[in-house]
């Protein structure tokens, strides 16, 4: 029996433009739904980024507007040894810290994946260094690495590893200062990697391990051929984030060393702040900050293209 009382409009069967059609058009609707979020992102991310890049092509100072000067800031920075030192520091800091965080984080994830008592409590405790506000843990490390009052120095003196009045210049010697800030960063960053990798490990099916045991695989072989390939997509994501956060780190360095001693722990972010806000050279500071973009893009591209490969998505052997 046909129902003549209700007129059903099928948008796809009505030709041409009509409000009815538009109202149910998915693209149209999705545009409006996305608008608030997009507006937020544009206002707080895209606009400052664009403004920063534009500022880097001007000679703006704090307190007065600037004029367009093209690449002059970049040309100057090209010859500035402190800038290149900060680039070197940033790369060193990021590479060393990320590599160690990955290694230790993965190992920690594997350990946490095993069944043990108070599993949930231990996992929560492991997360604490990441949750504590960076500034607070930085201040604590500031005291731990103080030349005169370091508890590490005291411990080493007590056990006789060093002479009783020998002070270790944790934050005053270039190499030690770099090692100290890298250590602080590693301490803070491991939980993030560990917990994320742990989540990935949980998705690996137990039956694969059981089959491997039956086939007589060693633990290393199980890791190499089951765990690691299946974890690769997660690793790609978490390491991208980790590298991005580490590269742009500011708080830890600023509290511990302010970029010293002799600019040997200055990262690009801290140097940019010092030049732009403290020194008043907004244009030059913006140029330093903008100079970070190629490196960050390279990290993202590496991860993005890597994820496109099916081998990464679905594990080795699935090209």
């Amino acid at each position: 029996m046909t129902d003549v009382g209700v007129k059903i409009t099928d948008p796809d069967r009505v030709g041409g433009f009509s409000w009815e059609r538009l109202k149910t058009n998915r693209n149209w609707l999705s545009f409006w739904f996305m608008l608030p979020a997009a507006g937020f992102l544009i206002l707080f991310l895209a606009y400052p980024l664009g403004l920063g890049i534009w500022l880097s092509f001007t000679d703006t100072r704090i307190g007065r507007a600037g004029q367009w000067i093209g690449l002059e800031n970049y040309i100057w920075l090209w010859d500035d040894s402190v800038f290149w030192l900060s680039v070197f520091n940033t790369l060193l800091y990021t590479i060393v810290a990320s590599a160690i965080k990955f290694g230790v984080g993965l190992y920690l994830a594997l350990l946490l994946n095993m069944h043990m008592r108070f599993k949930a409590v231990i996992r929560a405790l492991v997360l604490i260094p990441f949750i504590v506000p960076t500034v607070l843990s930085a201040i604590a490390f500031w005291w731990i690495f103080d030349t005169q009052f370091s508890i590490l120095t005291w411990m080493l003196q007590e056990i006789g590893a060093i002479a009783p009045d020998y002070q270790i210049n944790w934050l005053g010697d270039a190499t030690l200062a770099r090692a100290s800030v890298i250590f602080a960063n590693i301490w803070r960053g491991i939980p993030f990697i560990a917990i994320t990798l742990l989540a990935g490990l949980q998705t690996v099916s137990i039956s694969l391990y059981e089959a491997a045991v039956i086939d007589g695989a060693t633990r290393w072989q199980m890791f190499r051929h089951i765990t690691y390939p299946l974890l690769t997509p997660i690793i790609a994501v978490v390491m991208t984030f980790s590298v991005l956060f580490t590269f742009t780190d500011f708080q830890l360095i600023w509290v511990l060393t302010r970029g010293g001693p002799f600019n040997t722990t200055h990262l690009m972010a801290t140097l940019s702040y010092q030049r732009a806000i403290l020194g008043g050279y907004l244009g030059e500071g913006a140029a330093i900050a903008t100079a970070m973009i190629p490196f960050l893009l390279a990290a993202i591209m590496f991860s993005w293209f890597g994820l496109q490969r099916r081998k990464w998505q679905h594990g080795e052997g699935n090209d």
Binding site: I62, G63, T147, N169, L171, P261, F262, L278
Partner: protein, 452 residues
């Protein structure tokens, strides 16, 4: 520089409280009726952003002073406190944005970073200078830009050599030598007896800048000449760097990581026996010697040691070098009003009120030597005689040079300070990372960029 300790000096606070007391408000009301030169706008409200106090009694006196102003004129003043290093960025942002606190009380050449945004206060400065014997020369340099006054230089903070009398006597000296070779001998002697000295070589904007600029200028070196041409690469600078390295080799290790509060910690812990600082270490020691009744056991246990340090320590001005005259570098604290303020008359009235001797006297007394006068007549304020140990701070006004020294005290000098060009040059040379020639070259290049 003392960021973290609160100094409550019971003795002097009582004195200043007695002077201030109820008298101040009565006087202030009379002042508003007869002496005030700029009438605040109706319904005016003021916001002042200042650096967070290092001496508690100074802050107490300041709050009383501000309160008296409000009672006398009906203008409420909100005081915002920021850490010393944060005042400049906040002021810069406010200038850029065009809104924020009406007044900023900052350091060095802050107003010169954005002179066009600062109120013209020539009339206030002329009135105060005329009434109180004129401004000290350095204060005038800090205050003026392009022929008019853009800020009121309220006070200096004298950065002095803090030393332990018993230590220098053990090293064979009765007082700190006033010549450079003698000072080096003292430093070596202190190291030899196991009571070394140390001064900040990290990015310490107060203490670090103070001693490296003194060392550079004492040897006749300069960053720029009178025309803002960079002249840092010179034999005089090299001599300064060689001297500094000799000092550094006899210091306690770790100074390259010191920011402004490390030397305070180290001195009070008797890890160093000579350093440079304002009088805040002394103030902290005196306060630690008299802990409050509800202080914790550690504080009470440390009280005798603090008392001993306060008793034993003293302050000294800096030695004079081949330059032939004092070449010290003391922080100047300028008070500026922003052009965007809706209440310029109220701002000027406040500036005048702050600098009147009836206010300035008790307030400086509350600061117990932390603040040194910029107006010449204030040299004879009575509180200086109360404690001979703080007397050297009184001389800061005459002995100081300005940021930029021979060159302009403007945004270039401010930028050079903020980028630690001189400080890093000394740090590189002292630690041996660079030779003196190499350190000079780097500083030269950086300076040329700033002064182009």
């Amino acid at each position: 520089m003392n960021f973290n300790r609160r100094s409550l000096l019971k003795g002097t606070a009582a004195l200043s409280a007695a002077v201030i007391g109820a008298d101040l408000i009565g006087w202030a009301k009379a002042w508003a009726a007869t002496e005030m030169k700029w009438t605040p706008e109706a319904g005016a409200k003021l916001e002042l952003l200042r650096w967070k106090r290092f001496v508690q009694s100074e802050e107490d006196a300041f709050i009383k002073l501000v309160d008296a102003f409000t009672q006398a004129t009906g203008v409420p003043v909100t005081i915002l406190n920021e850490s010393l290093d944060d005042v400049q960025p906040k002021a810069s942002v406010a200038a850029n944005v065009g809104s924020g606190p009406d007044m900023f009380w900052g350091l060095y050449s802050l107003p010169h970073l954005f002179p066009d945004h600062c109120m013209d206060v020539t009339d206030v400065a002329d009135y105060l200078g005329g009434k109180y014997g004129g401004w000290s020369k350095a204060a005038e340099t800090y205050g003026k830009s392009g022929g008019k006054w853009i800020d009121i230089p309220v006070a200096y903070n004298a950065n002095l050599i803090n030393y332990r009398q018993s230590a220098i006597e053990d090293a064979g000296f009765k007082e700190v030598p006033m010549d450079l070779p003698g000072f080096l001998e003292l430093t070596k002697g202190l190291k030899a007896i196991g009571k070394p000295s140390g001064m900040a070589l990290g990015h310490a904007s107060g203490d670090g800048n103070a001693w490296v600029h003194w060392c550079l200028w004492a040897h006749g070196g300069n960053l720029v000449d009178a025309n803002d041409q960079v002249i840092i690469n010179s034999p005089e600078t090299e001599a300064a760097l060689v001297y500094a390295k000799e000092l550094y080799d006899n210091w306690i290790p770790g100074t390259a990581s010191w920011n402004d509060s490390f030397n305070n910690k180290a001195f009070l812990a008797e890890a160093v026996w000579l350093t440079n600082n304002g009088v805040s270490i002394y103030a902290a020691a005196k306060r630690g010697a008299n802990p409050a009744a509800d202080a914790d056991d550690a504080a009470k246990a440390a009280a005798p040691k603090m008392a001993a340090i306060a008793e034993d320590m003293n302050h000294s001005v800096w030695p004079v070098g081949p330059a032939g005259k004092p070449t010290e570098f003391h922080i100047c604290y300028p008070l500026l009003g922003m052009k965007y303020t809706k209440n310029p008359m109220a701002v000027k009235a406040f500036m005048q009120f702050l600098m009147e001797i009836e206010n300035y006297g008790p307030w400086a007394a509350g600061a117990v030597g932390y603040l040194t006068q910029t107006l010449n007549d204030f040299e004879n304020l009575p509180f200086w005689a109360d404690d001979p140990k703080i007397a050297p701070a009184k001389l800061a006004a005459e002995r100081t040079l300005t940021a930029g020294h021979l060159g302009s005290v403007g945004e270039k000098a401010a930028a050079a300070l903020a980028d630690f060009i001189i400080l890093d040059m000394f740090a590189n040379a002292c630690s041996g990372r660079e030779s003196a020639a190499g350190a000079m070259k780097m500083a030269d290049r950086q300076a040329r960029r700033v002064y182009r």
